[in-house]
Structure formats: C-alpha cells, structure tokens
Symmetry: C2
Amino acid sequence: MPSRRPPAERRAEIAAAARAVALREGLGAVTLRAVAAETGVASGLVAHYEPSMETLVARTFDELARAELDEVARLAGDGPALGRLRSVLATLLAPGRDDVSSLWADAWSLGRRSPTLAAATRSLMGEWSALADEILAAGIAEGAFATATPELVSLQMFALLDSTTAYALVGYREASERSAVVFTSMETALGLPAGALTEPQ
Amino acid sequence: MPSRRPPAERRAEIAAAARAVALREGLGAVTLRAVAAETGVASGLVAHYEPSMETLVARTFDELARAELDEVARLAGDGPALGRLRSVLATLLAPGRDDVSSLWADAWSLGRRSPTLAAATRSLMGEWSALADEILAAGIAEGAFATATPELVSLQMFALLDSTTAYALVGYREASERSAVVFTSMETALGLPAGALTEPQ
DNA sequence: GCATTTGTTGATCATACGATCAACAAGCGC
DNA sequence: GCGCTTGTTGATCGTATGATCAACAAATGC
C-alpha cells in the first residue's frame, strides 16, 4: 500500500500528516509514531525525513499558525479599517476554528521546554501584533477609531482572543460568549457604537 | 534515611513534593518518579498513596492555584474597592510569581486530555471570577469605578493577566511590560486617572 | 520479647517515546 | 533485462512513563 514516493512528495505528505495530528489531538500528540501511522508508513521513515521531532513539532505549529495568519491577512487585505478589523475578528471567531487556536495554548506550555517551539511562537505573535497594529493605525488615521493607546488596544484584543480560547479548552466559556466579549470590548475600546463590528455594514 | 512516617504526614510530604516539582518544572513534570525522588522515597510509595497520577496532578494544581487565590483574597480583604483592586493586581503582578501563573498554561493545555485537571481549572477560574466581580461591584456601588459592563471588565482583566503570563513563557513579553499593560488597561476601563492603581494612595 | 500490623522498598510489567540501522525492494539508468 | 541507487521497512536500543506486588522492616499491641 505505501508506495515509493519522490522525497519532496513524501516530505510534504509527512508534514500534512503532522498538521492533521496536531489539529486533531494537539501539539503534544505529534509523536514519531503518531505521524507515521497518520501517513501510513513505518516510524523509521518519519525519522529519516525529520531527524528531530522537536523541530517537526515547531514547524508544524509554525505552518498551521502561519496559514491562519496569511488567510486572515488576505481576507482583511484592504479597504476601510473598520471593515478590515471586522473581517479579522469574524474569521478568527468563526465556529470550527478552535482546532487551530487551541494550538497556541500547547505552544505556550510546551515552549517552556522547547526553545525551537518558543522561537516559532514568539515570531508568530510578533507578526499577528504587526497586522493588528497596522489596521488600528490606519483606522485612527481615517478617523474611524478613537483611542489614544492603539498598541494597548491591540494587545487587549489578542489577550481576549487567546485567553478565552484557552478557557474553552477546559470547557469554561462558550464560543458565543467568547465572541460577544471580544466584539463588545473592541467596540468600547475603539469608541465604536455597539454592533459596529458584528452587524453587516 | 527515609524513615517510617504516619500516613497523614507522608501524604502531606508527597503533596508538598508534587507542588515543588510543579512550581519548578511545570505540571507536565509531575510524574511518579519525579515526585518520589523529590520526596526521597521509592516510586512505589507514591503510587501507594496516590493511586492515580492524573488525580495527583489535578490536585497539585488545585492546591497551588487555590493557595494563591486565598492569599490574594485575604490581602484584598476589605476596605475601599480601589485599594482592594490595587492589592489584587500588586500581588498577582509581583516579581517571582511566574512559577504559579505558569501553571495555568499547563492546565489549559493538559486539561484537554485530563478531565480531572480540566474540572479543577474550571472551578478555580470561576472562583477568581467571583472575587473580581465582587470587588468591581463594590467599587461601582461606592462610585469609585465607572463602567457599564463590570463583568466584561473582569474578564478583560483576567484575559490580560493570563495571556501575558503565557506570552512570558515563550519569552515574548517582559514582566514590566506586562504589568504596565494590565494597570493601564484597568485604569482606562474603570474610568480611573492614570497611576491610580499603581501609585501609593 | 514476641507476634501482628503496616509503612516501605525495589524489582517488574506493559506501554510509549525518540532515535538508529541493517536489510529489503522498487524504480531508474544503461 | 541487469545492476545500482535510494526510498522504505521493521526490529532494536535506551529511556521514561504509570502501575502492581511480593518481600522486607519498623513500629505497635499484647
């Protein structure tokens, strides 16, 4: 069944399997044997293509988190800042995204032991922050957002997104509640009328 | 060297060792052998007193997190709400508390696989939330805090505390920056003048 | 002081982890 | 079609996990 493949193809196949395992069972479940089983090959083959599991875990997180960042950045490409921010939040809070966002909690916890994963996490946080800062700055320039401390609002937004997602992992908050809290907080912080971030323009 | 002890005493000794390991190396490092080594006994003895490691991990987290909650609640016992809130934040953001707060990231991540740990985490989050809600309600009644959505401010506060602590685990934010952000956000959210939560009254 | 209770040990089992490597076999060049 | 290259297997090593249990020894009761 497991046919012979060109290295590039097999490498991609293993990376995809690692992503699937991470999405389904968390970063802690991305083990040599789990990835091998998901790919349908012997465990030795995964080790052959991926000499260090720590690296594979970090890269898997990086790929998944970066894919989400790229998608959000693309969807919130241009136009008025209000619409861009609305798009960012709508995408991030859409139902069924818990699988990706859950990985952040794993990354923080495992990052303490894995410098590679910690570095990847740091880098991605910086990129997310840059995207938010840019949108907020644009909104202030347009006169659409009213806040004296945009970088603070940016951090607040991610703090709310990240922590409520973490809460959901242990069943503390519902998705609907999480969304409501983030939307309301951001509307307040940016001097927007209630519903400005949720209702269709 | 490891003398014979009455069960209650030994039990307490093992619990203390588990807490020490958790504070030093995280909840994931609370293993049968690590706790046994920390206590200075054979691994079998830990298993004898603690039939399930999953339970021990959950209880260790519960004990440590509850101790912090109790301490904060005691320090912020009574008086004007502003002083109580200031005390809560000062205690939680004091240098050297990273060891306790780091455990929350472990709890969220490991809680996905351990229902026992998830339940303990949920319960403690509820108690923290109740303490904050109570202080905020008192402050509003006093006229010291100005916010239309106290439960939102409460969640914002914990979101900032929790997520910036998680960030610190991967080296993303400094302790000083974290403190500044939390203080400033809360002052803004509650209609307080800048520095109201940090400077001595 | 002897016998019983019971706290304690340390070996052991089954499982899982990352990693290594000799052996195999599929496909390609000639 | 033959042989070499190389993708692939599966066994294996060393370590670590939780859990179990017979054997030991220290304290207690009589």
